[in-house]
Symmetry: C2
Subunit: 234 residues, 2 copies
């Protein structure tokens, strides 16, 4: 395949994403000047907390997690990203941006890396695109807030909410979560222990609410999971 047709293929991929919808292929091409496709294996890191940010990008396929280390050196997962999500865009306008988080692939994934210069030259003065970025951010706030509201809820409420929230990221109306997810990752995302997550989810596996094939979680009884989400005072 020639380089040109590779680029064409990617442009087509990009045009499906929310952030670029309503843009012409040539406009998208402009926005991606100097880009590069990064192919990652499971657990490979593309950005590390504290590094100077020379680039940002868009997830093409697979999934990535945004993480930080806790004071005790444990991984804390701040967000799960799926295809179409932008990474580190919103720090590009800063004078000397530094990645505030690390970004790690979950399973084989592809990432379109775009130089910061392209942002400064091409993205900055395009309000439409900037507002798309803002709307991605605002979705992220939504998830975070919804999770914080459940702070006092029992663990199974939190897990049920997380699974449903992740499932909703998926474009298709699938019942399989769009990313491979270990029990440990669920725990690290909710700020609880792996064992506690396992105890809740084994129960659900036994009662047939969910099914786990390798690290892919399938929701069999959405209605029951939603019931598990509700809770009442003691």
């Amino acid at each position: 395949m020639s380089k040109k047709s590779v680029i064409d293929g990617i442009l087509k991929e990009l045009s499906n994403f929310n952030i670029f919808e309503s843009l012409s292929l040539s406009a998208i091409k402009d926005l991606c000047e100097g880009c590069e496709v990064i192919v990652n294996d499971h657990r490979e890191s593309i950005y590390s907390e504290g590094d100077i940010a020379h680039s940002f990008g868009i997830i093409l396929s697979g999934a990535y997690k945004l993480t930080r280390l806790s004071p005790l050196g444990e991984e804390v997962i701040l967000h799960f990203c799926v295809p179409g999500d932008a990474i580190a865009v919103f720090i590009m306008a800063q004078e000397k941006p530094v990645y505030p988080i690390s970004v790690v692939a979950m399973g084989p994934s592809r990432f379109l890396k775009i130089p910061r210069n392209t942002y400064l030259k091409r993205w900055k003065e395009k309000p439409d695109v900037i507002f798309k970025v803002q709307s991605l951010l605002s979705t992220r706030f939504g998830s975070i807030h919804a999770q914080k509201v459940l702070a006092k809820a029992p663990l199974k409420t939190k897990i049920a909410f997380l699974l449903i929230d992740i499932l909703n990221k998926s474009e298709q109306n699938s019942t399989i979560l769009p990313l491979p997810l270990t029990r440990k990752e669920i725990a690290d995302s909710l700020g609880v222990t792996t064992e506690s997550v396992i105890r809740v989810m084994s129960e659900w596996s036994k009662t047939g609410f969910i099914e786990t094939i390798d690290t892919n979680i399938k929701i069999l009884r959405m209605d029951e999971l939603i019931k598990e989400m509700s809770y009442s005072p003691t």
Copy 2:
């Protein structure tokens, strides 16, 4: 005082805020077309979760909390806002924006309410201002993430962090928190119970790390508070 000089006074107030710094007074005036100063008493609400968003604004003085109700009907505090903070700006670009949270005054406060139309006409095409808004958002992400990283930390770590984080919002190098804060509010912000917060803070009051005059918290021994923030496995 004439209406004109009232406006001049406010413009001067605004020009001190980060979001408007480096803008001329007349540019700021443009951005505030149709604005109105709202004066609030303690616990008055300016926006309610779910309402259609016809306006947004900037905090002039005092403080406001951003809240939501938990499934059990308890107040959950998502963020504390101080003078210079923008409220609901980043949903203004949406087609039919709805406030995702409620906004409630903490003590007597003043808020500059700006119609959504002004945003669409004046803010939208000014990238400089939009980036200032983005930078406010990114600060907010910073706080939220830092808090999430402490999810497994003991309660006193979380409280110490919250107090220091709020103190850092203050412009001056004061040791008094820039907003009146009850124990219940600390609890609602951290997702714990009032009693637990009281037990930790009474201890600190006894040992002289902090002092509470009415609802104003003064940090007497920052070094000790920072020590309380560190923790180690079991």
